[in-house]
Symmetry: C2
Subunit: 157 residues, 2 copies
DNA sequence: GATATATTGATAACCATTATCATTTGACGG
DNA sequence: CCGTCAAATGATAATGGTTATCAATATATC
């Protein structure tokens, strides 16, 4: 049974999750739906703990463990993509109907710019070929100082 | 005072460390030299804990905290480079007189191939320029299946 | 509805890493 | 060489993010 929906456009993501649960003896629950909806409402990279904070505001009865479990579930279902940040924390972003992209990260303010560069993708394919590897995915982060921080900070604080 | 050297070719790295310590009121110590030598003797990516295991075999009196502290020191001194692996653990590799490179990682056996691709570097520079960022570094990992595992595993276990 | 089973929330456990702190050690000046 | 003093050490406790445990609860199916 699927619970009331808050966000109309979450319908497809919800059905993706339901489909994933089907046939695995997994169940659709209110906490899972709430976590999904809150996650979909955040257009940024969040850690499980940040997501937990947001979920709590909607339903304080939902526990931290459930958020951690559910966000992993979302990743398995293809609704979220995760990456380990350089500080060791794992962050999640939307994955459903979101094209692949890489990240440009400001080392001063933490701002994240998403970009796609065909040139890079092509060159990566060449590397795979050259070494006889079968590609399964990649992670690319460019670190630097964003325009705003360059103006503010001068050479660097 | 610098202690007996075991590896003749560690001389330059040692002097880099000594130079770094100089003028910062930091001291050269036997544990630091031992950690450096053991680290230099390992031609692979190691976590601080793996390095600790190796150091212990040489000098069991050296504590874990010292290895963690020293490997960070080596990174600051430019002798090591670290990256957060996808499983969240931080791994270190040699950095002195080692050209920048990226990694091709086998998701089945964990094998790591280092590569350099001028094309990718060029394209990255273009991304920085396009967004007005000042580059400070990047991390690129290509995940895939190595030739050996492709032969063995077929489509995938 | 009743039933079987997955899920939940609270809590404890976990792991890699860092902080604390009394003791030891190295660098420097005599 | 020896004394002095700050830095470094090792043992341990603490931390932060994440996962496991487990009795109570909620869900899908009949």
């Amino acid at each position: 049974m699927i619970f009331n929906m808050k966000r109309a456009d979450a319908a497809t993501e919800l059905s993706v999750l339901v489909d994933y649960l089907q046939g695995r003896d997994l169940k659709m629950t209110r906490p899972r739906q709430t976590v999904l909806e809150v996650f979909l409402g955040i257009e940024a990279h969040v850690t499980a703990e940040e997501l937990y904070d947001a979920v709590r505001k909607v339903d304080p009865s939902i526990g931290q463990a459930t958020v951690f479990r559910t966000v992993r579930l979302l990743e398995e279902a293809g609704l979220a993509r995760s990456a380990c940040r350089d500080d060791g924390a794992r962050s999640y972003e939307h994955a459903y109907r979101h094209k692949h992209h890489d990240h440009l990260v400001c080392v001063d303010c933490g701002a994240i710019v998403e970009f796609r560069e065909a040139e890079i993708e092509r060159a990566q394919a060449a590397v795979y070929r050259k070494h006889g590897f079968e590609a399964t995915g990649h992670s690319l982060e460019l670190f630097g100082r964003c325009p705003a921080c360059r103006r503010k900070g001068g050479t660097r604080a």
